[in-house]
Amino acid sequence: MKQDIFQAISDPTRRAILTLIAIKALTPNAMAEKFDMTRQAVSKHIKVLHECELIKPEHSGREIYYHFNAKKMQEFDNWLAQFRQNWETQFNQLDQLLSTIKEQKK
């Protein structure tokens, strides 16, 4: 099943991982060390983040470095911006409706 971006971001450890790799790409081993976690625990988090495309792997020799995918986060923000726009449109419609009703009552 494809991972949900909301679920991915709602976990504090995964947010910390994202914050860290936004600064510098890391290998799973380096992440495990920084967060004092087992390799298995890190792998689980990586899997979730990778599945919703918030991070992307890059091979360098034998190592895999994970990068932060800023584009995906931007996509998410674009969705929210559109959601906001829809509300703005609706509320402007309500402004008009309220003033019409107030006029009628006069």
């Binding site: 949900d4 971006i5 909301f6 679920q7 971001i9 709602s10 504090p12 947010r15 998410f76 969705w79 929210l80 559109q82 959601f83 906001r84 726009q85 829809n86 509300w87 703005e88 449109t89 609706q90 509320f91 402007n92 419609q93 309500l94 402004d95 008009q96 409706l97 309220l98 003033s99 009703i101 107030k102």
Partner: protein, 163 residues
């Protein structure tokens, strides 16, 4: 329309919650009605060119509103709102979920909390939306997008006619 009226829109991604605050230039009883009466909700409850159509609404605790957002080409996106708490002219809460045209709900939905307060003839409405998943939020927008794409298409046709 009214630029001095407050409009706040904040998203707490970690808490999966959207916070919306808006002021309206009208008294509380009227604004409360606009949010809780079907005949008024249908006049503003979908962003144009979409429109809202309520099939039925039973505004009481445990009651439901079954309604659709309809795009300009007639596509209907049905949803069910179930009212879980009502304090007249102060607060109401509901659980919102998409549904098919026969009212079968697609879970999970989202939790909505509305607060109303009035000061000097201006009514403030605070809305909190808790979404279990982003996918759900994406779906909310899907319907809107259909409407928007249609508008752009209409515009293209119009421009082609004019040129």
């Amino acid at each position: 329309m009214n630029n001095d009226l407050l409009f706040d829109f904040n998203v707490d991604k970690a808490a999966k919650t959207v916070y919306i605050t808006r002021e309206f230039n009208a008294g509380l009883p009227l604004v409360w009605d606009a949010f809780t009466k079907a005949e008024l909700l249908d006049q503003w409850g979908a962003p144009a060119p979409m429109r809202a159509k309520t099939k039925y609404m039973d505004f009481k605790v445990g009651g439901r509103r079954f309604y659709a957002m309809i795009s300009p080409d007639g596509q209907e996106r049905w949803a069910v709102q179930e009212f879980t708490s009502i304090t007249p002219k102060t607060n109401f809460k509901m659980y919102n979920a998409f549904a098919d045209k026969d009212e079968n709900r697609e879970l999970p939905g989202s939790d909505w909390n509305y607060n109303f307060s009035e000061q000097n003839g201006i009514t403030k409405v605070d809305i909190t939306i808790y979404n279990e998943s982003f996918e759900r939020l994406e779906k909310l927008l899907e319907g809107f997008k259909i409407g928007f794409t249609m508008t752009l298409k209409n515009l293209e046709v119009l421009l082609a006619t004019l040129s």
